[in-house]
């Protein structure tokens, strides 16, 4: 197998791997802070409108969301296994696992899209120009839905990026012979995927399980 040529600034492959992993974790830290601004807003408004949040949360389909959580957790498993398969050079297995990851990611988005659609039908989408009706829920209800759509929207956006990245990884696994490079990159994609998963793990109870 052909090997990676080492860029001029590195002296050893291990040095490069460490640099790349470190960079990825730093990137995830910045992502965490980016979402942090949203979680903080959520916290503040939940403190201000505790009852409304509970009432509004009851409008959402928590079973669907629980199912979706399961879907994402499963995708985390498949991508973790895929990374290992790549490292062990089991190309076919790796491809299947990555494909499963993409499929799970897509089903998440479809289910989420369906959820949004039902909410649209119930006049819960606060976009300008849409008809909304929060009268049953009390003041602060729109704030809940603003938070809900922005935060789940941001998450869906990140997940879509993740899906695109995993698709690219599939191409690498299928056609590249530079195992070290492919392993490194798939590993990074995995880190990102897991991070997006973790975000959802927190979104789930915060939006669907308010009492």
């Amino acid at each position: 197998m052909a090997e990676d040529s080492l860029p001029i600034q590195f002296v050893a492959p291990a040095q490069r791997n460490e640099a790349v992993t470190l960079a990825m974790w730093l990137l995830l830290a910045t992502e965490a802070l980016m979402f942090g601004a949203l979680f903080l807003s959520y916290l503040i408004y939940r403190l201000l409108f505790p009852q409304t949040f509970a009432a509004a949360s009851a409008q959402l389909d928590s079973m669907l969301a629980a199912l979706n959580t399961g879907v994402l957790l499963t995708s985390s498993l498949t991508i973790a296994l895929a990374i290992q398969a790549v490292a062990l050079r089991r190309r076919a297995l790796a491809l299947w696992l990555l494909a499963a990851t993409v499929a799970l990611g897509c089903s998440f988005l479809i289910l989420k899209g369906y959820a949004w659609y039902t909410e649209y039908q119930h006049h819960l989408v606060p976009l300008r120009g849409f008809q909304t009706d929060y009268s049953a829920l009390g003041s602060g209800a729109q704030m809940f839905f603003n938070l809900y759509f922005v935060m789940t929207g941001m998450h869906a956006l990140h997940l879509s990026i993740g899906i695109a990245v995993v698709l690219v990884m599939m191409a690498y696994v299928a056609w590249s012979d530079r195992t070290a490079m492919v392993t490194r990159r798939v590993g990074l994609a995995g880190l990102y995927w897991h991070f997006v998963d973790i975000i959802w793990v927190f979104l789930f109870p915060l939006f669907y399980l308010v009492v």
């Binding site: 830290a29 403190l47 498993l77 897991h194 973790i198 793990v201 109870p205 399980l209």
Partner: protein
Amino acid sequence: MNARRYIGTYLALILLLTATVWSHGFELGGWNVVINLAIAAAKAALIALVFMQLLREKALTRIFSLLGLSWLAILFVLVLADYLTR
């Protein structure tokens, strides 16, 4: 073998998920939130430690993985210091 650890972790995650949903059925007042968030944190920790290989990473990477969290803590604590004493 890694695969077995992964699958074990996955089962634990699903178990935790079931636990959250199940606990949602009970009226526990403030405790519901606590349980939910504790479970979410446990899930996140499992994913980070096992799936994201933090257990096997160098100390430096582990420190950096905590960086985002610690800074979030600063943000939350100091903003709450304002809101809770207004």
